[in-house]
Symmetry: C2
Subunit: 274 residues, 2 copies
Amino acid sequence: MRIIHDPVELQTLALSVRRTGKRIGLVPTMGFLHEGHLSLIDEAKKRSDFVIVSIFVNPVQFGPNEDLDKYPRDFEHDRALCEEHGADVIFAPAPDAMYAPDRSVWVEETKLSRGLCGALRPGHFRGVTTVVAKLFLLAQPDVAVFGQKDAQQALVIRRMVRDLNFPIEIVTAPLVRDTDGVALSSRNKYLSPADRERAKVLSRSLFAAQRGELDADGVRKAIAGTADKVDYVVWLDADTLEEPTENTREILVAVAAYFGTTRLIDNVLIQEKK
Amino acid sequence: MRIIHDPVELQTLALSVRRTGKRIGLVPTMGFLHEGHLSLIDEAKKRSDFVIVSIFVNPVQFGPNEDLDKYPRDFEHDRALCEEHGADVIFAPAPDAMYAPDRSVWVEETKLSRGLCGALRPGHFRGVTTVVAKLFLLAQPDVAVFGQKDAQQALVIRRMVRDLNFPIEIVTAPLVRDTDGVALSSRNKYLSPADRERAKVLSRSLFAAQRGELDADGVRKAIAGTADKVDYVVWLDADTLEEPTENTREILVAVAAYFGTTRLIDNVLIQEKK
């Protein structure tokens, strides 16, 4: 497994791998890898011949009061996991190598990115689409794998790929949970044991919604009664992120809430029966 | 020479051409080709093995009161010229094939695009960068050729390529003039013979600046005395589009002015002697 820090070196390698006819798979991450990320790497491995895992805590998708500086990092652990799961390259650039001081070009999605996390984290998705466009052009993947954990992000990336004509297949892999139901997240590390216990309310309420035992309001009440702050609880068309209509084939129930100072997100999909 | 209307068909072809190891050259145009465009095709031909000329009057770079509907078109003439100059493919998509009704992703340059034409044509450069990003991803060029006639556009595209890491060499080919000095433009077709005569003031003033006979103010006065309306006359650092500094290596003198209802642009470069 190669470790590459220089964007130009990665691009040169990727272009030469493509010329050999191999399919490239890309898994973009911010590192501090957990089983969720590893499931994405495994998925990429199945669907391509050459897997690139990017590890980059992307500064431009963090707001001024967010956790950029304290975002957890453990490169040696990440390296071991990538090796174990058969990645061919880790791409770990320095922020300065990705962004020139006079950078001035952004890729921006203007509809799907406006609600949910986009409403509460202004500029977040513009940072995500911009860095993912750059990673796509550097790593030249045929297929890129994202997690359903970040449901809105996956939709925004799919829209970017469609609207800008990236020749890339986007795969959204299922959300991975711990045995207690809590969605895996690098930010779970921040939780105290008591907060971790309370955080189970997210998955518990979402599962109840999936079983038809709670409606949107019920989920909202359950979470508001336990979390320290609720950013949103939404019940939307899973394709458009708008209010469900008669054409809706799947519902996304998505939540974002704080436990202590830690913001967690979670979601489930519910098939519409017609 | 193949004529392709379907974006997916072009991309499939381009990806397969790349796999053969051939270098692809792209010349993006809005059609109604003149000698200026043909010089770009010739340049692409020199620098690549497979030349794609796109002909697309891009609706999203026109303002609501601009000349989208009356922009001149002559596909049969364009086809003959492309054939004659050795293009391998004309890509001529319909607007609907390029833009989904619910499109929501833009590529935007936020510094170099703000002055000059960008200040007077809001949204223009966002439309340009978005369509050029799409054309780059569809045509998969190794090299793309733009004209110095649209000096600001060429700089904005270079910045996009740098900031998003497109693996594409951008070539800016010299501006081509008619024998009377007037810069070639598809919009010259709109000029009455009297307006055409008056329009010579642009190149005449710019040449005088180049010879050191007029300064910025002199150029401004000469043009304001003849044109029906002056959008701008600027004397800027040719790399940054900011006021020249001691580090400036080249000056861009650029003008935009109306003759009758026709808006023309022109520019010259002046080397700084130090």
